[in-house]
């Protein structure tokens, strides 16, 4: 039952264009952010002010997640909201009436897509970032095992965001609303809260637990920790990982137990 449902979910993805369009956006986003940091690195010996920004290889590679975690989030949310929007829950639940199986089959497909987006992001960040770093006279750190450990965490966290998207979409139902929530929260709401949080110590303690902050802390190297949050130290990486897992479990439980079980009429 589960294997059949998983195969069906995979076919749902590869019979539409969304997966590769999002992959392309992921590639371009990361190339843009890695390229920007790479250029800053190159310019830093001419413009002394830039040297204040601690740019290194890990910052560039880590920018994959802060720029790109919205991509698997959207991918996951589309996987569930498409079913409501195009009323395809009818044929889906006719073939697989045990709804929990359908929901749980969407998770591994989005985890795998998250890994795929992570690999694309790495290709862009390393492919563009490493040459720029070399040109600026910096280390690429590619021979350092801790860099590869960073890559693993990047891929893992993007996979997790795919699962969060599945739960969010299932819960919210409305596709437009889900997309707006995903974009507005990740691109505006959380960054603003984090910027404010950096100024007040008591807020910054709570801000650490926000999903984007936990993502950065899990990865351990990102534009945010490089640029903004001077005062805050962020969570331990493994605590941040647990916080993200807790978000995933919460949103998937709500999505699959509330909206997903409603009447399909």
């Amino acid at each position: 039952m589960f294997a059949a449902s998983f195969k069906s979910e995979t076919r749902k993805i590869f019979t539409l264009k969304t997966w590769w369009i999002l992959g392309l956006v992921m590639f371009l986003l990361t190339a843009l952010s890695a390229g920007t940091y790479g250029l800053l690195a190159m310019l830093s010996d001419q413009i002394p002010e830039l040297a204040m920004i601690p740019i290194d290889a890990l910052t560039i590679y880590g920018s994959i997640t802060s720029a790109g975690y919205v991509i698997p989030l959207l991918s996951g949310a589309l996987a569930t909201t498409n079913e409501y929007r195009h009323r395809t829950l009818t044929p889906t639940f006719l073939a697989t009436p045990k709804r929990g199986i359908v929901f749980s089959a969407k998770l591994p497909t989005q985890l795998l897509l998250g890994i795929f987006y992570g690999l694309l992001g790495l290709a862009a960040a390393v492919g563009l970032g490493a040459p720029l770093l070399l040109a600026a006279g910096y280390e690429t750190a590619l021979s350092d095992p801790s860099t590869w450990w960073l890559f693993l965490r990047i891929i893992a966290v993007l996979a997790i965001w795919g699962a969060i998207g599945v739960g969010l979409g299932a819960l919210v139902k409305n596709q437009t609303v889900a997309i707006v929530i995903a974009l507005v929260f990740t691109q505006f709401v959380e960054p603003i809260i984090r910027t404010i949080g950096a100024a007040f110590e008591w807020v910054s303690e709570a801000v650490k637990y926000l999903p984007g902050a936990a993502t950065d802390a899990f990865v351990g190297a990102s534009a945010y920790s490089a640029l903004g949050e001077v005062g805050s130290t962020g969570l331990e990486w493994w605590i941040a990982g647990l916080v993200l897992l807790a978000y995933t479990v919460l949103v998937c439980a709500l999505g699959s137990q509330i909206s997903w079980k409603k009447d399909v009429s």
Binding site: A4, R87, T88, L89, T90, L94, S265
Partner: protein, 299 residues
């Protein structure tokens, strides 16, 4: 797996906010026959079918397929095929890809896809996006999807809706063919004349309640036909009729209720009246159906 699959509702009720869509409904559908599920728009047909197929949860009662609830069935697509909604396809997927999603979920070999597309006449449109399909083509795709598992039972919600006359004839013939193979078919419609020639049995509901369950023949015999008659000497005709019949005057003739044309013909002959027209005004079946669904008033 038993060949004799039945569908059964036992005291099913469902309320949406303030609307009681299905009201203590019980009926069963027997194998090897086509059962028409009729009722005016809003009578609760779609809701009932969705309850039967586990898509909508009833508030009370039981809905059974082969003695089990649909949600408990291990691989339902091989037992029950359903086409409920011609708008339940992703418009950017091709017809073939739409079926590929279904075969994988139900563990049906992909080779079956070409077969069902051929049966419903969509082979040439297989690689077109469903968004470019007409309503009739989407109805055919729904039927193709229902037939993927070669199921013993078919549940179809208004499958004729949106088809051209050719398509309507084709669906009727195809359903008859499927029933002749011993399959159980439940087909809904809000227009009796649409399915009258196709179905063996009728389940009629109005406002969520059962108002008739039985054969078409039985319902037909419940009322007589009314007859329209006109004559060159209309005054003489009316005089002859008034002794024995109640009639309604029209501009060009009269209508007599609950009578067979033969009786009026004989009466005219006896009185030496030359008739210009003598015909059945409305069939007894239609009248009986309208009576069933006007009791309690749908609107």
């Amino acid at each position: 797996m038993s060949k004799e699959v039945t569908l059964e509702l036992q005291g099913v009720s469902k309320k949406f906010e303030s609307t009681l869509a299905v009201n203590d409904l019980s009926f069963s559908v027997h194998p090897g026959k086509i059962t028409g599920f009729l009722g005016p728009n809003g009578a609760g047909k779609t809701t009932t079918l969705r309850i039967l197929l586990g898509l909508v949860s009833q508030d009370s009662g039981r809905a059974l397929v082969n003695g089990q609830s649909y949600r408990e069935l291990e691989n339902p697509a091989n037992l029950v095929g359903a086409s409920l909604d011609s708008n339940s396809f992703h418009p950017a997927r091709t017809g073939k890809d739409t079926l590929m999603v279904q075969t994988s979920a139900a563990g049906i070999p992909d080779a079956r896809i070409a077969e069902v597309l051929n049966i419903v006449g969509l082979t040439e449109a297989a690689n077109k996006k469903v968004g470019e399909y007409s309503l009739g083509m989407r109805q055919r795709l729904g039927l193709a999807s229902a037939m993927l598992g070669d199921p013993q039972v078919l549940v179809l919600d208004e499958p004729i809706n949106g088809l051209d006359p050719q398509g309507i004839t084709w669906v009727r013939e195809y359903l008859k063919h499927l029933a002749s193979e011993g399959r159980t078919i439940l087909v809904s419609s809000h227009v009796l004349s649409e399915v009258e020639q196709t179905v063996d049995s009728l389940v009629v509901i109005n406002r969520g309640k059962l108002v008739y369950e039985g054969t078409v023949k039985n319902l037909r015999s419940q009322t007589k036909t009314s007859v329209f008659v006109s004559a060159t000497e209309s005054a003489k005709l009316e005089a002859a009729l008034s002794a024995s019949h109640k009639f309604i005057k029209r501009e060009d003739g009269v209508v007599i209720e609950d009578v067979e044309p033969q009786e009026i013909g004989e009466l005219a002959l006896k009185n030496g009246i030359a008739l210009t027209q003598l015909r059945t005004e409305s069939t007894g079946l239609e009248k009986a159906f309208l009576e069933l669904i006007s009791n309690g008033g749908a609107e």
